[in-house]
């Protein structure tokens, strides 16, 4: 039952970059000034020819967007494709969608493919919502009969019943995006390829899209290839992930470990944030946040094991008269869900630099990315500093307590609660 539905072997894609106006010596000089300067340099012909060759070499360059990529996807798998910008994710999807041809290698696909590389492909502003549903559906590969059948579902999902017969150019951007996604969400291919299209719309709509994607991936049992920068969504939807870097596969395996590798190789989370004295986001002339650090297992780190306590330590400065200062932190998870607020009682502080720390116990948070917002209040209610996403850190699995189950564990927290044994009554 789980044979390979997609087989990729040795895939490579090369683009030839031509640097316009770079050299010019190979294409022949198009500008008169170049002709003159070349003539002037004629006595040193051999020198200018060497220079010309170097310039010609620079004016055309091979760029391998993908190199030697091989993997297999089984029927029903939901695979995330992650990597930095420029790693080759979109190129891979384009080749799988037959939009562009590979330079080397081979792909075998055994099923109908539908690609969602962009939301609203083919939408025309002058046409009404109704007309665009048909147009977009046809472009994505649905037959007219199919679109008619699903028409009401699509309209209900997009919540645009009232505006169905107005030209789409009058829609708000939110409505536009909802309609576009609604059409695409009702495709019924065997293989669905999705490229970062979930990062649209407001929070409520994103939740709806996510729910729909979960339906497609989980309940309907389709094979899904999913590219996203949102690690939370990837971890949520996919069981397996492929990490691309520089056009090659760096890691291919269970989603949480691949995401871990992504974070590590990314090194954008260093565990420390600092703010300049004049940074308006970090405070005003009465209170100012200077630095925040994440400490775990006795070191400053952005990557924290799930079974270790996490300490947030921040430095702030108080100027002006002594006042009552209240610190507060908000913790958000990878999906932007508000996990908790915490803060001590107020303290009367005199002006000067201060350092404060708060510790989250071990085995409390779930794996994934978290971010702290730091708030400093004066006289209990007046907000002087409110720095959102002040510092981000990542909790990773250590394999503790995972002997039995290797899949995704959902939830913004994962505390270890005490369980009794099952007692026969």
């Amino acid at each position: 039952m789980s044979e390979a539905i997609i087989k990729v072997e040795g895939l490579g894609k090369r683009y030839v970059l031509s640097h316009q106006g770079g050299g010019g010596s190979r294409q022949g000089s198009k500008r008169f000034s170049e002709v003159l300067s070349r003539a002037a340099r004629a006595p040193f012909g051999w020198l200018s020819r060497a220079q010309g060759a170097a310039r010609a070499a620079r004016s055309q360059e091979d760029f391998w967007a993908l190199r030697d990529v091989s993997f297999e996807i089984k029927r029903g798998e939901v695979v995330g494709i992650i990597g930095r910008n420029g790693a080759g994710k979109s190129t891979l999807l384009k080749i799988l969608s037959r939009i562009t041809e590979p330079t080397s290698g081979q792909i075998e696909i055994d099923g109908r493919v539908a690609s969602l590389l962009e939301v609203g492909t083919g939408f025309h502003g002058d046409l009404t919502g109704r007309e665009n549903i048909f147009l977009n559906g046809a472009i994505l590969g649905m037959s007219r009969v199919e679109i008619k059948r699903k028409f009401d579902e699509i309209v209900a999902f997009a919540e645009v019943e009232r505006f169905l017969d107005t030209p789409v150019k009058h829609y708000s951007s939110g409505m536009y995006v909802r309609l576009a996604f609604a059409v695409a969400a009702h495709l019924e291919p065997e293989i669905l390829i999705v490229d970062e299209v979930l990062a649209v719309g407001d929070a409520q709509f994103q939740k709806k899209c996510l729910g729909k994607m979960q339906d497609i991936a989980g309940r309907e049992g389709r094979t899904v290839l999913f590219v996203s920068h949102n690690m939370g969504v990837v971890a949520n939807l996919c069981g397996r992930a492929i990490l691309l870097k520089g056009g090659r596969i760096l890691r291919d395996g269970p989603v949480s470990s691949v995401i871990g590798s992504y974070i590590e190789t990314g090194a954008t989370i260093t565990g420390e944030s600092t703010w300049a004295v004049d940074d308006p986001a970090a405070g005003n002339d009465r209170m100012r946040l200077r630095r925040a650090r994440i400490l775990s297992v006795d070191k400053v780190t952005g990557d924290v094991p799930i079974d270790a306590a996490v300490t947030l330590e921040f430095d702030f400065e108080l100027s002006g008269p002594s006042s009552s200062v209240t610190s507060s932190i908000h913790l958000f998870d990878k999906q932007g869900v508000w996990v908790l607020c915490s803060g001590p009682a107020s303290e009367e502080l005199s002006p000067g630099p201060y350092r404060q720390a708060v510790t989250i116990p071990a085995n409390f948070l779930n794996d994934g990315l978290y971010s702290f917002s730091i708030i400093l209040l004066r006289n209990v209610t007046q907000i002087e500093v409110h720095l959102r996403e002040a510092i981000t850190f990542c909790v990773h699995e250590t394999g503790e307590g995972r002997a039995e189950y290797g899949g995704v564990i959902n939830g913004c927290v994962r505390p270890q609660l005490s369980w009794t044994k099952a007692i026969p009554t």
């Binding site: 939009i99 041809e101 590979p102 055994d110 083919g122 002058d126 046409l127 147009l135 590969g141």
Partner: protein
């Protein structure tokens, strides 16, 4: 569904089957273009009737009255209209299809379907205009109490010929235009030039016999003469010239399809 194999440099084996599978898209793209054309217009679809009608009036005045071009046996407006029909089909099909790929760049870079459908849909749009103009022709025949002879049953064949004569150069130029954007300047020039060179405002009988063969290198000469022959029973259809035009149209068609298919795999990268 059999397995699909994607490999570098391999011509798509399933192409013609895909073309059939995506045939509805031809209708939808043409439908879109027609709808968009008349959105937010006041006169709307009436333009489809006004345009050819007004052109015919202007031509009748200029070529018929002022230049006094001969019109043996048939009213001049009919002579002109019978030629304008295929010419307008040809010129709008050529213009629309030659810019169609670049105009649909957003589709080409994001969705897969056989790209031949794009210039194809442009030609279909022109064909719809043709049908409307044809209705005007019927009206004109009624007005002049002119009943076409039995040759009129050959008309569909000439329509098909006009279709193919437009498709060939259209495919060629649209594929060229993707990489070398110069070609968008070539088309208006060809169309304007062609209007005066092709036997639209006059009958090809006025061409001196020694130049007739060379003149027939223009594929539209054969098509227009054929239309006039079928509708008006004109004997200006000179078979050697017609065959030459036919050959030229076929040549362009084959060249167009071959070049288009060859360049198709690079469209998404270059456009």
């Amino acid at each position: 569904m059999p397995k699909l194999i994607i490999r570098a440099g391999q011509a798509e084996r399933h192409y013609w089957r895909d073309l059939w599978r995506y045939r509805e898209l031809l209708y939808f793209l043409a439908w879109r273009d027609i709808l968009v054309r008349y959105k937010q217009t006041v006169i709307g679809v009436a333009w489809a009737v006004l345009r050819p009608f007004l052109t015919m009036v202007v031509f009748t005045v200029i070529f018929g009255r002022v230049a006094k071009m001969p019109s043996p046996g048939v009213p001049y407006p009919l002579l002109v209209f019978a030629a304008m029909l295929p010419w307008q089909f040809f010129s709008s099909a050529l213009s629309d299809s030659s810019g169609s790929l670049v105009g649909n760049a957003n589709l080409i870079s994001k969705v897969y379907f056989p790209r031949l459908l794009i210039p194809g849909s442009a030609v279909v749009v022109s064909f719809v205009d043709f049908l409307i103009s044809f209705a005007i022709l019927v009206g004109l025949c009624a007005y002049y109490r002119f009943l076409p002879g039995p040759h009129v049953f050959f008309l569909p064949a000439f329509v098909l010929l006009a279709f193919l004569a437009a498709l060939g150069p259209g495919l060629l130029i649209t594929a060229l235009n993707v990489e070398y954007r110069d070609f968008r300047f070539v088309i208006p020039f060809i169309v304007q030039f062609g209007l005066y060179v092709s036997p639209v405002g006059f009958s090809s009988a006025v061409i001196p016999p020694e130049w007739r063969l060379l003149y027939s290198l223009n594929p539209m000469v054969g098509v227009i003469d054929g239309f006039r022959w079928a509708i008006l029973g004109q004997s200006s259809l000179w078979w050697p010239g017609f065959c030459l035009s036919l050959v030229m149209a076929a040549l362009f068609l084959v060249w167009g399809i071959v070049y288009f298919r060859r360049m198709e795999r690079t469209f998404a990268d270059v456009i």
